[in-house]
Amino acid sequence: MGLELTTTRIEDAANWARKFSFFSYPFVTACCGMEYMSVTSPKYDIARFGAEFPRFSPRQSDLMMVVGTITERQGPVLKRIYDQMAEPKWALAFGVCASTGGFYQNYSTMPGADQVIPIDVYVPGCPPRPEQVLDAIILLQNRVQEARGHSQVRDKRAKLAAESG
């Protein structure tokens, strides 16, 4: 019996674990919520990607799903919830409203949730098809594994800055 050995870096191993255990916080505000429900239903089986548990407390979640239209008035709420989430964290804009404001061009709608929080993946569509969302989850997994998420990059930058004094 030979000795089997795998080498890796701790960070890569941690990211591998993270990408298969997203705990999403659904920030559902509008019609995209219907499509979100079908994404989480057994038919599309989001559990294949390890992201099946929505957590309704920001402290227990690391993936913010911004589902639906964000108004200027909701901005401070969205920011506060995002700030309360555990690090490292990611954010997904679900639908054109959350990505860019969509077809709304008016006094009340925020032109995309990225005005307030950094978004890692944008899913177009009004509403997006569940397959698009699954595709976005896979994109996000790659991003997490390669440590390219906004919060991961910020973290790394802060560490480098601290080291170089």
């Binding site: 200027e72 901005g75 008016n106 006094y107 009340s108 925020m110 929080i117 910020r154």
Partner: protein, 162 residues
Amino acid sequence: MSEQVLATLEKKFGEAIASTHIELGDACAVVDPQKLLEIATFLRDDPAMAFDVPVFCTCNDRLGEEPRFEVFYALLSLEHKHRIRLICRLPEDKPEIQSLSGLWKGFGWLERETYDMYGIHFEGHGDLRRLYMYDEFEGYPLRKDYPKDKRQPLVRRDFSST
């Protein structure tokens, strides 16, 4: 049915009713804003009128015309099954009108919405705050001269750090 209401109003209030017409089956009366409260009280309390449902209240901004604002009150009587729409024309520099929320409580929120969106001041409302927009919001968004893409953000992310 509704024609009778208009006829009664014209007979009783005469000068205070500027004009009446039927629009898509709805009886409409353009009334003097000063007399609105009196007319509305009559419509509520007279047994032959008995308007008991406050259907809606909103405003129409006719920019460029004077008087600029038209405030509508729609009323319904469940007993007699008739409807009426009261229209008050208000000048641009003094968009003030008496509140009907004392007569029908249901108008309370609708008047707050009209104040929020069009800046109409309802005297005697008692709690005239913005309903949808935040307190920091300046101007009245549904007025025709509010720029359609003007935004008034409450928060923005610090883009310099990311």
